[in-house]
Symmetry: C2
Subunit: 259 residues, 2 copies
């Protein structure tokens, strides 16, 4: 029997977008739990669900329980929930599936790999959804459910998921911080960040056809000491940026000299 | 009188794309110079120009001379060219305009800020073109010319251009290297890099509406020591990646703690 009635545990960014997309695809979001009554209420109103802020009031007759809270709070939730025979998943990139196995033998993971915000609607159709489950039947049910919202559903173990999460820190968080630095450097000279947008867009567009290693360019790759020295001097006012410039340049050079 | 007849000095990636876009907009590319006869010939055939590999054979009756060679070669070209009264520009992000002032008193810079390849056609209409010139008349002529190919023409001094180039190293070269690392990490676990593309696309899309600092997320920002420690352990096989992970995480944390 396909999954229809869903309880959401959590009312943050991921929970909000997951709730919205499942509702849009005809699922019944019956309850929203949050420690913060206001958060539960806001999302519940949006999804026509019942807000709760006490885990003992949880509906035991749903088809699926989605725990979408901060990584650190998952273990705490697990100690307060017992739903034998029910499918229970978390949505975290870095927490092992075993963290929720005390809740139900039919536990699993439903990890959508994208950026989420409360206000901006996520395009789930292109968002990879990583599925893991304790047993084959649960795996099949979760896969079928994921396919109703995404065209990219993958079976991914806890170990692989941790690797993906680490890679995403480089590709997303560290990349964004490179932009923070670029923005700082430009602002000091009174230049707007938007001058870099075409270049950045093209840098990322290239990744769809070329491996990142083949797309590498720049003074560090060329071993252009004159430019590197000049750039490090220009960062004299900011030792943190100097350290990063030096280390990343050295790593680029080592990487492509060794390969 | 608008610029019509152009001599290209250089036949690399930038020269190729500049030559193609000006030809498309009705300009006459009369000669292509390259040290390498084959390179000059390949581009000359494409643009209906005369290939030369001897600077003494340069046509003295063109309206504009574009020096588009590697940064290190600009000074050498300058010692072999003397074109008084002619508009002469280079296309480099990091070389001062004064590097070519011995060629002509009407010297300048025509720096298109994008990624260039010989084969992939650059969209110049959205590419910022940074203009600098020794005198107002030359500046006006270069600006008028740049506006025929780009909707984003800016007057940028040599000093500002150096800043933009440094910012571009962070936003483009270092960003690409973050992707190289992400790709490596995934490959070791047998996972294809394409799983990250929707996340990366969204990371970059956010920059059009939010400042990079407001868009920052991740374990380093949250000061999530458990995840950071686990990630550093996972990189035990690769001390270079460990160093980068540690330094960038520390910089993220310092940056957002101080602000």
């Amino acid at each position: 029997m396909p999954i229809n009635k869903i309880v959401l545990i959590g009312a943050g960014r991921v929970a909000t977008q997951i709730g919205k997309v499942f509702q849009k695809h005809g699922k019944n979001i019956s309850q929203i739990y949050s420690r913060t009554p206001e958060s539960a209420k806001d999302l519940a109103v949006m999804l026509g669900a019942l807000p709760i802020n006490d885990l003992t009031k949880i509906d035991h007759n749903a088809d699926l329980y989605i725990i979408s809270v901060s990584d650190d709070s998952i273990a705490g939730i697990a100690t307060h929930l017992y739903l034998p025979g029910k499918i229970v998943v978390h949505t975290s990139g870095s927490v092992d599936m075993t963290a929720i196995q005390s809740i139900s033998e039919k536990c699993g993971v439903f990890y959508p790999l994208n950026i989420f915000s409360k206000s901006h609607e996520t395009d789930f159709s292109t968002t990879p959804v990583c599925i893991e489950a304790q047993d084959k039947e649960t795996e099949d049910e979760l896969t079928e459910l994921a396919r109703t919202i995404s065209g990219d559903v993958r079976l991914i173990s806890s170990q692989q998921r941790a690797v993906i999460h680490l890679a995403a820190v480089f590709a997303c968080n560290f990349t964004n911080f490179m932009m923070v630095n670029a923005d700082d450097i430009l602002q000091r000279a009174g230049i707007d960040f938007d001058i870099l947008l075409p270049l950045i867009t093209e840098t990322i567009a290239k990744l769809r056809g070329t491996s990142p290693a083949l797309a590498q360019t720049g003074p560090a790759l060329r071993n252009d000491f004159n430019v590197i020295r000049k750039h490090i001097e220009m960062l004299n006012h900011d030792p943190g940026k100097q350290l990063m410039y030096e280390l990343i340049s050295k790593q680029i050079n080592d990487y492509f000299t060794t390969k």
